[in-house]
């Protein structure tokens, strides 16, 4: 049963990943990527890595891909010029790719990383919480890299703000508070003036 589920999700994953790079419409490609993320999350669930599975869905599907979709929809990229040289360079590309794959299989083939080389991890008990264990490790053994990673995020924030925030003097903006607080006396001035007469 479990194997059947695994093969089902793997097949969907491979199909979706293939569609990501072959789909003509970029929006379709992004949606297939979402599908790929969902199925890989399911595979992780099968491996008892439920925390990673949930984070993948929350962060990648929930945040990153939505942003991606926005960008793809807003930019309206014309992909035709990007694909122009594709057929011309295809033979060379395929040749190089085949060589690289062949070399890599020869060097790090299944005899080193195959199913026989790795011992199957024992199944955890039902009450075992992957999230709790990860949290414990992150804040004890891995606290130093964890902190460094947080500093990297801080730098990313500082850099993004430093490179994009501009204070333009002289731009006009609404001050809603003052608009609402305004009364008639400030805006309308009644002027009494003598009626005009036509000159003779």
């Amino acid at each position: 049963m479990e194997q059947a589920i695994f093969y089902f999700f793997s097949a969907v994953l491979i199909f979706a990943a293939g569609m990501v790079i072959t789909a003509r419409n970029p929006v379709h490609a992004v949606l297939f990527l979402v599908l790929a993320f969902f199925t890989s999350a399911a595979l992780w669930l099968l491996l008892e890595a439920e925390f990673l599975a949930i984070v993948l869905v929350l962060v990648y599907v929930g945040a990153v891909m939505v942003l991606f979709l926005f960008v793809v929809m807003m930019l309206d990229i014309n992909l035709a010029p990007l694909r122009e040289g594709f057929a011309r360079y295809l033979p060379v590309g395929v040749l190089v790719l085949a060589l690289v794959v062949l070399e890599m299989v020869l060097v790090v083939g299944p005899r080193l990383f195959g199913a026989e080389a790795v011992t199957v991890p024992a199944r955890q008990a039902a009450e075992y919480s992957n999230t709790e264990t990860l949290g414990e490790l992150l804040y004890t053994v891995y606290v130093y890299p964890f902190e460094v990673a947080s500093v990297i995020l801080l730098v990313a924030i500082v850099a993004a703000i430093a490179l994009t925030l501009r204070r333009r003097p002289g731009t006009l903006k609404q001050e809603v508070g003052r608009q609402v607080a305004a009364n008639r006396g400030e805006r309308v001035r009644l002027v009494r003036m003598a009626a005009e007469r036509s000159k003779r």
């Binding site: 790090v108 080193l112 891995y142 130093y144 801080l154 500082v158 850099a159 430093a162 490179l163």
Partner: protein, 478 residues
């Protein structure tokens, strides 16, 4: 699970720099352009304080903490001290330049301090994860610094190129690391060292090693992974070029020592061959293409490439003597590069960049003293005695000869003679050509004083190299 609270004291300099960088970041929000000097002074104070903390630990032996991920040893303390020194110089040279061009914002110093922190993490890393995280922290800060002058399209282009090639290099490095992890089941460099010494893993290690060396080559800017160097050096604002071209080279040296020498020491015969290729290509391409440059920043970029070839020449012999020579080379090169780019800043003024070779024409008549300092800097880069560059090259060549690589040492000497041409051309322009530009130098007193000290220090270290050699030797147990 049982867990022992790690010992925090060996990481005191890192914690100090992080705390101060955050403090500067927040404090800067409350300052305006007139009081921004506080940011600058606090950043410099941070570097001085960190230097006191790091040097205070010097000679106290090797301490490992944070579950074996952090190591504090003498190599680390000395390298960190030189990083503080070069960044101190970089900040000092930059301040007036940035202020005049209305680029003096607190983020320059904050990102600089975070880059320092990244370099410190790299230097103290004893785990593949931390080598990578430190490198990313450094690189991310540098990408932002290169793009710092956001109204300049040239700077944006340089930052974009740097970012893309840097991301590619990080990918290569990570792939190599994943192979090491696959072979050993551990990210701990000590554990990796054990299994390479025991001859386990075999082909997977060598496969991962190739990717590690490619990643390292990118970060060093060694040929054939050098494409980003000239564009980034030329496109970035000069103070940022000064920053990118000096201290990170010391950190890159530390990364090589931690990864190749300590982690993969058992594979030395394998990475020696890979590095030989990088060394020969870097020396050849760097020195020959530099001759054709008319922009000084670009010329110094190609000169950096050739210097990185020399540095790797010291490392590849795989002996303690070679590492010590390479360390001497890295720290003295960082100081020389800081001085070289400092001179461009010194001669520049608002609306005018003195980054063409032409701009140095007749400097000997305009300002004999600074022409002399530039002469010392150029001699040091070319390796003319009695400057420190000569001893650095000599030590590296000695190490290569000591490791029976006489032919490689001969190649290096031939190319450094070719390289001498373009350094001496600057000297010729300064002394034997009439000045075109008679404007007086505008630089402030602190810049004049410190750049003089920088140049004289290279001369002094060249005449008395013994003390620094002793420090480098003792760091590697010689």
């Amino acid at each position: 699970m049982s867990f022992e609270v790690p010992q925090f004291s060996p990481a005191l300099p890192e914690m100090f720099v992080l705390a101060m960088a955050c403090l500067v970041l927040v404090l800067d929000l409350f300052l305006n352009d007139r009081t921004r000097v506080v940011t600058y002074l606090l950043s410099q104070a941070t570097l001085v304080g960190a230097a006191v903390l790091s040097l205070g630990q010097y000679g106290a032996g090797t301490a490992v903490t944070f579950s074996g991920m952090f190591v504090a040893d003498d190599v680390g303390h000395v390298l960190k001290a030189f990083i503080y020194l070069t960044v101190f110089l970089a900040f000092l040279y930059s301040r007036d330049y940035l202020r005049v061009r209305e680029l003096l914002r607190g983020e320059f110093f904050v990102l600089g301090l975070f880059a320092v922190l990244g370099m410190m993490v790299m230097i103290s890393a004893r785990n593949l994860l931390l080598v990578y995280l430190g490198l990313e922290l450094l690189s991310l800060s540098l990408y932002a610094l290169v793009a710092f002058n956001r109204d300049s399209s040239q700077a944006s282009e340089a930052a974009m190129k740097y970012f893309v090639t840097g991301a590619l290099a990080s990918g290569m490095l990570l792939y190599g690391m994943s192979m090491l992890y696959g072979a050993t089941g551990s990210l701990d460099l000590a554990r990796v060292a054990e299994s390479t010494a025991a001859g386990e893993g075999g082909l997977v290690f060598q496969f991962g090693l190739v990717f590690l060396v490619v990643g390292i080559g990118f970060k060093f800017g060694a040929v054939p992974f050098h494409m980003w160097v000239p564009d980034v050096y030329e496109g970035a604002p000069t103070p940022v070029t000064l920053f990118v071209g000096s201290a990170p080279k010391v950190a890159a040296f530390a990364m090589v020592i931690r990864l190749l020498a300590e982690g993969l020491g058992g594979l030395q015969p394998h990475w020696e061959g890979l590095l030989v290729v990088l060394v020969i290509l870097s020396l050849a391409v760097g020195n020959v293409i530099a001759i054709a440059q008319t922009n000084l920043k670009r010329m110094l970029a190609y000169s950096t490439i050739s210097h990185m070839g020399f540095l790797l020449l010291g490392v590849l012999s795989g002996t303690a003597m070679g590492y010590s020579a390479a360390m001497f080379y890295a720290v003295t090169y960082a100081l020389t590069a800081a001085g070289g780019f400092g001179m461009i800043i010194l001669l520049s003024r608002n609306g005018f960049e003195a980054d063409r070779l032409e701009d140095f024409r007749g400097l000997g008549a305009r300002s004999p003293w600074f022409a002399f300092i530039m002469l010392v800097l150029m001699f040091s880069m070319a390796g003319v005695p009695p400057t420190v560059g000569f001893y650095a090259k000599l030590a590296v060549l000695q190490a290569a000869v000591g490791a029976d690589l006489v032919w490689l040492a001969v190649v290096a000497v031939v190319f450094s003679v070719i390289g001498a041409f373009y350094y001496l051309r600057v000297v010729r322009l300064m002394y034997f050509e009439p000045a075109q530009d008679a404007a007086p130098l505008e630089a402030g007193g602190d810049l004049r004083l410190v750049i003089s000290a920088n140049g004289l220090a290279l001369l002094a270290l060249g005449i008395f190299p013994g003390a620094l050699f002793a420090v480098c030797n003792s760091a590697f147990g010689l």
